[in-house]
C-alpha cells in the first residue's frame, strides 16, 4: 500500500491518456459532418442549460437550435447522434442530483450564518441549530433549532423500522423461500400494491381514524402521536423492505440451498443457516432502504402530527408527536419567508444528506454481498 499514491497517479495518467486516445480515435473515425453536428448539439444544449440557469428569456433560442441539430443529426448521422444524445441524458441525470445539492444548500446558507454559535472561542456556523432546542419563528429570541425535528424523525424512524424490518424480512422469506407458487402469485402483487397506496391516503385514515382512536386509548390530551405515525410510516416502508430483501434472498444461488438440503436439513434450517446469512448484506441493505423511506415520508406525518416543534417529555414519550423534518417543510413552506424559509431548506439538507448516505451505504453493502457470493471473499 506504500506505493498506493504512486500507483494511483500513474493509473490516473494512464487513464487520462487512454481517454485522450479514445477521443482521438473517435474523432479520426467520425466523418467531419457528424463531428460538426454533434458539436452543435452539445454546444446548443449547453447554452440552453446556462440560459435556463440564469433565468434568461433567450433560453429558447439555443434550445431550438438543439432540436434542429438533433433532428438533422438523426437523419444524417444517426450513429453519432444517438451516442451524443444518450450521453447527454446520462449527464443530465448526474446534473439533476448536482443541482439538487447546489440549490438546497445555497438556499439554506443565510440561516446557517444566523444560527452560528461560539464554542471555545470558535464561531461555528449553524451550530446553534443543533445545540439549542428552541424553535420559534415569531417571538424573540427567534430561533430555528433542528433538534426537535431531528428527535421526531428519529422517533418515527425507529418505530417504523421496528415495524417494517421484522415483518418485511419475514414476508420476504415467505415470498422467496416458503410460499407455494399459487400463494406467491397473490401475495407478491399484494405487497406491490401496498407500496402504491398514496401516503396521503394513509395520512387521511391516520388523521380521521387512528389518531382519535389512539387519543382515546391512551387518554391523551389532544391527538397526534409518534407511535402511530411510526406505525403508519412503518407500514409504508414495509413494501420497500420486502421487495429489496426478497431480491437479496432469491439471489442466493439455488445450489447453496440444495447443498444444505442434501445433507438432510429442514428448509427452515437452510433458511436460517445458509440463505439468511448469505443474503445478510442484501437484507440489511433492504432494511436500510426502508429506513430511508421512513425518514423521508412526509404526508402521513404532516397530517397526523401536532405541528409544534418541541421535544417531547420525557424524550421517549411516544404518545406525543410534535414534528418531523419532513412535516416541518410541508407544513410551513407556505407562510415561511426569509430566515424561516431558509430553515426549511436546512431541514431539507439534513434529510437529503442522511438519506443519501443511507442509500450509498446500502449500495456498498449490496455490492459487497454480490462480490462475496461471487466467491471473492
Amino acid at each position: 500500500m506504500s506505493t498506493a499514491t504512486d500507483g494511483e497517479r500513474t493509473g490516473l495518467q494512464a487513464r487520462v491518456r487512454r481517454r485522450a486516445e479514445r477521443l482521438r480515435d473517435f474523432v479520426d473515425d467520425t466523418s467531419p459532418g457528424a463531428l460538426v453536428t454533434i458539436a452543435v448539439i452539445a454546444a446548443s444544449l449547453l447554452a440552453a442549460f446556462v440560459g435556463f440557469l440564469l433565468v434568461s428569456s433567450l433560453t429558447v433560442v439555443p434550445f431550438i437550435v438543439f432540436l434542429a441539430a438533433s433532428g438533422y443529426g438523426w437523419l444524417r448521422h444517426q450513429e453519432e447522434t444517438a451516442l451524443i444524445l444518450t450521453l447527454t441524458t446520462t449527464v443530465s441525470t448526474l446534473l439533476i442530483l448536482g443541482l439538487i445539492i447546489v440549490f438546497i444548500f445555497l438556499e439554506s446558507v443565510p440561516v446557517v450564518q444566523y444560527e452560528s454559535a461560539t464554542v471555545f472561542g470558535v464561531t461555528v456556523p449553524g451550530l446553534r441549530m443543533f445545540i439549542e432546542t428552541r424553535w420559534d419563528a415569531v417571538s424573540s429570541p427567534v430561533r430555528y433549532s433542528m433538534v426537535p425535528m431531528i428527535h421526531g424523525t428519529v422517533m418515527v424512524t425507529i418505530i417504523a423500522t421496528a415495524v417494517a424490518a421484522p415483518l418485511g424480512v419475514a414476508a420476504a422469506l415467505f415470498l422467496s423461500e416458503i410460499a407455494p407458487a399459487v400463494v406467491r402469485e397473490f401475495v407478491k402483487p399484494g405487497v406491490e400494491i401496498l407500496a402504491g397506496i398514496p401516503s396521503i391516503v394513509y395520512g387521511f385514515i391516520g388523521f380521521t381514524v387512528l389518531s382519535p382512536w389512539a387519543s382515546d386509548q391512551f387518554d391523551l390530551t389532544g391527538q397526534g402521536t409518534y407511535l402511530f405515525v411510526g406505525v403508519v410510516v412503518g407500514l409504508m416502508a414495509l413494501p420497500t423492505v420486502v421487495s429489496v430483501a426478497e431480491d437479496a434472498l432469491s439471489s442466493v444461488p439455488e445450489s447453496m440451498k440444495s447443498g444444505s438440503l442434501a445433507v438432510g436439513t429442514t428448509d427452515w434450517q437452510t433458511m436460517t443457516s445458509i440463505t439468511l446469512p448469505a443474503a445478510f448484506s442484501g437484507v440489511s441493505a433492504a432494511v436500510l432502504l426502508g429506513v430511508g423511506r421512513a425518514i423521508g415520508e412526509t404526508m402521513a406525518a404532516t397530517v397526523m402530527l401536532r405541528g409544534v416543534p418541541r421535544l417531547t417529555e420525557p424524550l421517549v414519550n411516544v404518545f406525543y408527536g410534535q414534528e418531523t423534518l419532513t412535516s416541518l417543510i410541508a407544513r410551513n413552506y407556505g407562510e415561511a419567508d426569509g430566515l424561516q424559509l431558509d430553515a426549511l431548506f436546512i431541514a431539507g439538507v439534513i434529510l437529503f444528506v442522511t438519506v443519501l448516505f443511507i442509500s450509498i451505504g446500502a449500495q456498498y453493502i449490496e455490492w459487497r454481498m454480490r462480490r462475496k457470493l461471487g466467491g471473492e471473499a
Binding site: Q78, I100, I104, G190, V201
Partner: protein, 540 residues
C-alpha cells in the same frame, strides 16, 4: 458418527398427544382474533358474553392455553410424549422469553408493588434473567414451553383475578398526560401472550427439534404474510366502503344523461353520469366533484412521463451499451440510487427553489410536471437498465456478428427486447408519483375547490405567437389541482365551507377513493403488463 441417531423415514400417524398441541395452536388462533377484535373495539372487554365478562373469558382461555403448552412440554420431558427435542431452545427463543418476562415483572414491580423505576428495572432484570436462563439452559421441550406457557398462564390469572380489570389504568406520569388503559393493555397483552404460546404450541406439535422449529417459525411467517394481505384488503375495503356513497351521489344511467365529449370532431354523450368525477365545484352544481383534480393528475403524469422516459431510457442505453464500466458509470449508479431514495419533499423543495422562479415565479403545472419527472427519472433509469442488462448478450453478439452497427443493434434488438421491462417499470413508477403530494404541494398546488370550468386544458392552451418562443401555453404556467393535493386540502381546509356539499366527510372519502382507484389502476396495469410480457417472453 458415534451418537448419531436415525429417526424414522416414514412418519407415524397423528397421535392423541399431537391433538393436544394442535388444539393449543387452534386456541391461540381464536385468542389472536379475539384480542384484535378487542383492540379495535369490535368486542368490548367489559361486556359479558353468555354471562361471563369478555376479560374473564380471555383470561380463562389464556390459562387453558398456557396450561396446555406447559403440560405438553413437561410431558415430553418425562417421556410421556414422543418428541425429538434439541438440547436447548436456542438464543432467540430465550431472548424472547427474557424480554417478555422482563416487561411483565418490571411493570408489576414498579406499579403493583410500587417499587418505582429502579425497583421495576431490578425486578424485571431478575425475573427476565431467570426466564432467559430457563429457556436457554434446559432441554428444548422444557425451555421453549415452560417460560412462555407460564407467561400466558400468569396473564390469564391476572385477568381472571381482576388485577387488571376493565377499568384499570396506569398513568405514566409523563408531562402531558398519557396513560395505559385496560382497553389497550388487555388486548395487547393477550395478543403477545397468544403469539408466544401459539409459537410454542406449534413447535410442540412439530415434536420440537428441527421439525418443531420449522413448524413454529412457519406458523409465525404464514401469520405475518396473512396479516399483510389482510391489512391491504381491509385498508382498501375501508376506503371503498367509506368512499362509495360520496362517489355515487347523483349517479345516473341511461342514454344522454352524461356530459358531452367531443373527440376528433365526433361528439357523443356519455350514457352514465357520475357527478363526482365529471364536475368541478361550483355554485350551480347539484353535486360537486373533483374533475379538475383528476384532469390535473393526468396531465401531471403525462408531463412527468414525457420528461423522464426519454431521459431515463437514453441514460440507460448509454450506461449499458456505450459506457465502459468504471468511475463514471459507478457515479451515475450512485446518483440514480441516491435520487431514488431522496425524499419526495426534498424534490418539492428543489422544484420550489429551482423551477418555480424560472416559470414565471409562481407555482405551475409545468413545475409540478418537471418535479415529478425528476422523481420518476431514477426509477426509469434503474428499471430500464435492469431490463437492458437482462437482454442476453447473445442477441447483441448475433447482431454484431452479422455486421450490424452498434446503434442499429441497440435499436433493433436491445430496445425491443428490453421494452417489457421498461414499460412495467415506468407504469409502476407512474403509480408512485401519481399519488405523491409533497412535491406538488410546493410546486403546483392551486385552488382548493376548483370549478369545472377551470379544468386545465393543455392541448387547447397552446398559442402561437409571432415573437420567440413562438409557442406559449398559459395553461402550463398556471397552478391547477391534483387528486392527492385535493385530498390534502380537504383534510387541512375541510369541506364544510361550500354550501353545496351536503356530506363533507363523504366528499373527502370519495376523493380518497378516486385517488386510490387512479393509483391502483396504474399498479394493476403495471402488474398485468408484467404477467403478459413474462408469459410472452417465456414462449410456450
Amino acid at each position: 458418527m458415534a451418537g448419531a441417531t436415525r429417526s424414522k423415514l416414514v412418519e407415524a400417524e397423528t397421535t392423541g398427544t399431537d391433538a393436544v398441541a394442535a388444539g393449543a395452536v387452534g386456541l391461540s388462533a381464536i385468542l389472536f382474533v379475539l384480542s384484535l377484535a378487542a383492540l379495535f373495539e369490535t368486542v368490548t372487554i367489559s361486556e359479558p358474553v353468555a354471562g361471563i365478562p369478555v376479560v374473564t373469558l380471555i383470561g380463562g382461555l389464556l390459562v387453558l392455553l398456557g396450561g396446555a403448552v406447559i403440560t405438553f412440554g413437561v410431558g415430553s420431558r418425562l417421556g410421556y410424549v414422543e418428541t425429538q427435542p434439541s438440547s436447548g431452545a436456542g438464543l432467540i427463543a430465550a431472548a424472547v422469553a427474557g424480554v417478555a418476562w422482563f416487561t411483565v415483572a418490571g411493570g408489576a414491580a414498579s406499579q403493583t408493588l410500587g417499587l418505582g423505576t429502579v425497583g421495576g428495572v431490578a425486578g424485571g432484570v431478575v425475573v427476565g434473567g431467570v426466564a432467559f436462563a430457563a429457556a436457554a439452559l434446559t432441554r428444548e421441550d422444557i425451555g421453549s414451553t415452560v417460560p412462555i406457557g407460564s407467561l400466558s398462564l400468569l396473564t390469564g390469572l391476572v385477568f381472571i383475578a381482576d388485577v387488571i380489570g376493565p377499568t384499570w389504568i396506569w398513568d405514566l406520569g409523563w408531562e402531558q398526560s398519557a396513560s395505559l388503559t385496560a382497553e389497550f393493555v388487555i388486548p395487547v397483552a393477550t395478543l403477545f401472550s397468544t403469539l408466544f404460546a401459539g409459537w410454542a404450541a406449534a413447535k410442540a406439535y412439530g415434536g420440537f427439534g428441527a421439525r418443531g422449529r420449522r413448524m413454529g417459525a412457519y406458523t409465525l411467517i404464514y401469520l405475518n404474510a396473512l396479516s399483510i394481505v389482510a391489512f391491504l384488503f381491509i385498508l382498501v375495503a375501508f376506503v371503498v366502503v367509506q368512499g362509495v356513497p360520496g362517489l355515487m351521489t347523483g349517479v345516473q344511467f341511461g342514454a344522454g344523461v352524461g356530459p358531452e365529449t367531443t373527440l376528433f370532431g365526433f361528439t357523443f354523450t356519455w350514457p352514465i353520469y357520475v357527478p363526482f368525477v365529471m364536475n368541478g365545484v361550483a355554485l350551480l352544481n347539484d353535486f360537486q366533484g373533483v374533475l379538475p383534480a383528476i384532469v390535473g393528475t393526468i396531465w401531471l403524469v403525462i408531463g412527468a412521463v414525457l420528461f423522464a422516459v426519454p431521459l431515463g431510457v437514453g441514460a440507460a442505453v448509454f450506461l449499458t451499451e456505450y459506457a465502459e464500466r468504471g468511475r463514471f458509470t459507478q457515479a451515475v449508479e450512485v446518483a440514480t440510487n441516491g435520487l431514488w431514495s431522496t425524499p419526495s419533499i426534498v424534490f418539492g423543495l428543489f422544484g420550489f427553489a429551482f423551477l418555480v422562479p424560472r416559470f414565471g415565479n409562481q407555482k405551475s403545472l409545468l413545475a409540478g410536471m418537471l418535479t415529478l419527472g425528476f422523481m420518476l427519472l431514477p426509477l426509469v433509469v434503474i428499471t430500464s437498465r435492469e431490463a437492458m442488462i437482462a437482454v442476453p448478450d447473445e442477441y447483441r453478439d448475433a447482431s454484431v456478428a452479422l455486421g450490424v452497427t452498434k446503434w442499429d443493434t441497440i435499436r433493433s434488438v436491445v430496445l425491443p427486447a428490453a421494452l417489457p421491462g421498461v414499460v412495467t417499470g415506468v407504469i409502476l413508477g407512474v403509480g408512485r408519483i401519481a399519488g405523491e403530494t409533497a412535491p406538488i404541494l410546493l410546486t403546483m398546488a392551486g385552488g382548493t375547490f376548483v370549478p369545472g370550468a377551470q379544468t386545465v386544458d393543455v392541448i387547447g392552451g397552446f398559442e402561437f405567437t409571432a415573437t420567440p418562443p413562438f409557442v406559449a401555453n398559459p395553461e402550463l404556467l398556471q397552478a391547477t389541482s391534483a387528486l392527492p393535493y385535493q385530498l390534502f386540502a380537504l383534510i387541512t381546509a375541510g369541506v364544510g365551507l361550500g354550501d353545496n356539499v351536503t356530506d363533507p366527510q363523504g366528499f373527502r372519502w370519495a376523493t380518497a377513493l378516486v385517488l386510490l382507484i387512479v393509483v391502483l389502476s396504474f399498479y394493476a396495469i403495471g402488474i398485468a403488463t408484467r404477467y403478459y410480457f413474462r408469459s410472452k417472453l417465456r414462449y410456450e
